[in-house]
Subunit: 335 residues, 4 copies
């Protein structure tokens, strides 16, 4: 039985993670922390009533190390790295949901996150938790950087075509639509029900922090310098990300050829489904699947992916990484 702790357990990704772990035959949640709340976890998440008898506690690396083999950090950036550093010293293995260990270098981090990185030495060396692309690095990792929700939806469809040189590395447009849970559980005007219900809007156009993540990770996966225009949208739904990626082929390709390439590339990957139909986010909600299809329109290749931002885009990916790190079957608790 692998003992698991969760930092920042009051948010949506943590709740989803707990629900997945409660279904995991090899994992037991032994500690949950919060910086504000110190009540029983079920008073913060009523859906956990009768399911997990733990009280939220303060973070303490040593105290957690006594009760945990693995810790998932759902803390915000910078705060997360600080906790990860302390935990790694104790020998606990960590899956970090924050952006702290995803980028290649401290300068990019500082530019986009407007903070000095507290642990620059590790940057560029931490396994990026997308097992479909970096599966060989995860089993032995002490620290895994769990991917951002949008990057997963953009990187998975693009990587095979970039790797094979079928598309240009420049002038890639990623137009993504996300459910509101991706914005977190802290009350803010823009995620209030009457603000975002019955409405759709683009936000952070040209400025979203997942843009450099998409570019750098695609670079790592394919060895190419990639340039992306990324337009995220807030859609009036709880969960789900749909990304439409517009890219320019380097040579004439058909829809069938693109679909075949994708199918081959992801053969044996249990959570990537290459489909012929246009996927809806609902086909994947509450699952760890990413559904991907392709279309060729007027000489452009369109790649379309659908996922659940809280599962494959966050907590499901984290459990998938956990499975690989601790020797469980990759799909445990995820089907």
């Amino acid at each position: 039985m692998t003992r698991v702790g969760i930092l920042g357990a009051t948010g949506y990704t943590a709740l989803e993670l707990i629900k997945l772990l409660l279904r995991h035959p090899g994992a037991t949640v032994t500690a949950v922390t919060s910086r504000q709340e110190k009540t029983h976890i079920s008073s913060v998440h009523p859906s956990l009533s009768g399911r997990l008898d733990l009280t939220l506690e303060d973070f303490g690396a040593e105290a957690l190390a006594e009760r945990c083999d693995c810790v998932f950090s759902c803390l915000p950036h910078v705060a997360s790295a600080e906790s990860c550093m302390a935990l790694l010293k104790t020998g606990v293995r960590v899956v970090d949901f924050s952006a702290d260990y995803r980028l290649d270098d401290a300068a990019t981090f500082q530019k986009w996150y407007e903070h000095e990185h507290p642990d620059p030495g590790r940057l560029g060396k931490v396994a990026y938790g997308l097992p479909e692309l970096f599966g060989d690095k995860i089993p032995a990792a002490d620290l895994v950087a769990n991917p951002g929700c949008y990057p997963t939806s953009a990187i998975l469809p693009l990587a095979p075509l970039l790797k094979e040189g079928w598309i240009e590395t420049q002038d890639i447009i990623v137009d993504s639509k996300s459910g509101v849970s991706g914005a977190g559980r802290t009350p803010k005007l823009n995620t209030l029900f009457p603000e975002c219900n019955e409405s759709i809007s683009a936000y952070s156009v040209g400025k979203h922090r997942h843009q450099p993540e998409i570019e750098q990770i695609l670079g790592r996966a394919t060895g190419k310098k990639v340039d992306v225009i990324f337009t995220p949208h807030l859609a009036p739904m709880d969960r789900g990300i749909l990304s439409v990626v517009y890219c320019r082929p380097t040579r004439s390709v058909t829809e069938e050829q693109v679909l075949s390439l994708l199918k081959e590339f992801y053969a044996g990957k249990p959570f990537v489904r290459i489909v012929k139909h246009l996927p809806a986010t609902k086909d994947t909600t509450h699952t760890n699947f990413v559904d991907i299809t392709a279309r060729v329109v007027k000489g452009r290749v369109l790649l379309i992916s659908a996922e659940d931002n809280l599962i494959k885009g966050a907590s499901g990916a984290a459990v998938q990484n956990f499975n690989l790190m601790f020797g469980y079957d990759e799909t445990t608790a995820l089907l």
Copy 2:
């Protein structure tokens, strides 16, 4: 042209009020106040871009009196009464959206609102802004207490039957479902999109402040002491209130008889529609109508009403009152 000011103009009822007034041929909005914001109104409400060129200002009774003939107060309780008192001294006429002047006495106010009433002398004497029942008191009023959203939906169907003695005054159950805009625009966890989307729940069961309002106003309208069990719900929609009222007939009545009584009672009232079908809130959203029907089930009379909580339940009613106060046709800007 009647010059109008709006206090607390950053919320949903104020926004709706402004939109209605922009359509009013006799009204011009000359001042908008806010305790927090001091920016242009369109930066708080982007939907007003290019429509109203005013900057939010601090409240000042004298300053407003110079530019306003009528002020609508969308302030919270207590704060609202304090502003109303100051405004009334200057001779400005006021429509108060808060609960401050709706109840009969200071003791009830203090019990339910947990504040000493700042203006107890006026209680019980202020016109209650439901023109269908108190239309004779409104034209000459200096101050009108605009009704609560739930009370309108419960009082209108009940008043005729109570007045005629067709139903018992006790054991009345009001089961109401409201859209989320009724909870206001201040960010709170329980009105965050991912909390209330795809979910319905009852709240404040047996404790909601609109219960004494329903009882006292029904008492005023019918001369009878009425007892109500009131169960409000939060439904995953922006707007709308559906109330199902369960009452006990004093004698055998048919559905047709109840519908006839309601029709007669509200003959000539332009915003009450007595309908045969079961109304949906959507039939009334963005309008000032209340749709009411009746059913007789196993010896109980069920009254069902649908309204838009922001229009007939708040800003539409306020404009209706304004029309009566300033001599406009009752329906101006409301059809």
Copy 3:
């Protein structure tokens, strides 16, 4: 491994059932039928892509009997009984989602469903699949009548109080709100997105077929003749039922006493959670839990329950029954 067939596999309850069974270590889905569609199951339910390799087929009792130990019927009433009769002859055990075997007698069935019952002899003898109340009848049953979604939400909170004689058997009001999936997957105007989104309405007031089911099953469970006024609503959400039950105590009771009685009654029942807070449907969506609380308001007892209409209200209950029928732990695939 228990081999399972599903009749009428194109609807929402069937889809949900398949997803639960895919998680069940002891069950394998071997056949899916449809009267209209004859395509691969994943072309009807894209969310099953890569998960279940079956093609929809015509119903044939003998053919199914060769490949199934248990059949779940998601067919409409009458059609379902006809298929169940044929299957039971072959020795296959059946869980019937339709209303065909829930009522006590053919006359009540004919009155409410406006069809002659094709199998009147079995009525009143079939196990009602609410294991919390009829758990002793299910393990040996060849045929289980899976409960209606609303009845589960009303019967579970009421049964303990009725059994103990704490509440009157008459003048019980059940005011229920349901998500739209409860209305099925056949395209109809009233379940079109722009019709029911942003709207709430009552329907079938005093005429809903679940009313006699609630009354008869409560009668069976408590030995008392019960009378219920049942008001269902369509709420703008996919799933979830919230029921507020208004009943009249036979003696003075406190909220604490009611909660204690409920807790004792459902001690050891894994899917009934007696909670102190007011439950939201979202606390239970995608789970087999029913969350129940109680309030005492002005001498009335209010019972409030929340469930997922597709899980505990349909497919989860069916799997729970299946578990008991085939010797699996009651919670298998359901936590």
Copy 4:
């Protein structure tokens, strides 16, 4: 008083049109037709209860001509042209909501709509009802082709930049998200609430009929042959279209320059608002406004527009055209 008839009055655009016309001081609705329904209009649209006392009738050009000065056709393509032809013969002026008279030639129509055009002689000569671009052609027109909902959202932001030669005419990507009302009121599986709620998906990728309309009308407005990749999405909301248009500048431009050009171009146009913030569809719902902004990202120009698909995208535009045709102020009934 201008007498108005509406063909195909049972759908969403017709309902919205009626609501706008009820607010119009110069228009009176005298006839409503339907091919299926022959009941009172309020039994099809309960929201019109007490507002419009008309019964749905069969189409008859002569009979309508006696009671109407203007007819709005909300019929589907081909059927609409057939009715328009008959009406025009009688001298009635027509606003056609269908696509029948929007395209330049019969061949394009046949290719995209898979029907022979019933009235090819008029193609290319009919005024396209976007007064912001073709305002000079509308006042004298006997027939106006009311624009498609998506085209309005794409054409308005693109026209000024194309006209000035600031962007390339090729490689324009229009990524649009629409509410479900755009799909009409005929019950279909894909617009059922539980299918499209909590989900977003692209549809008709590269195949949507509004693509040639966007290209041809932009050609007409700017004198240039334009090529567009158009990706529509179904978003879980009633109304609203958000379009993000990616285009390639012909020379270095800044965000400020683009916004200035747009502002100048649309100066004096009452329904186009050029804004600095990123518009949400909700800023424009239930209004005739289109909010447009621009961003420059990595050398690409992004144009973002928001509108209400039923108002500026359909019935509001129709009333705007009606106003121009019959000499009313352009904004009558629309503010």
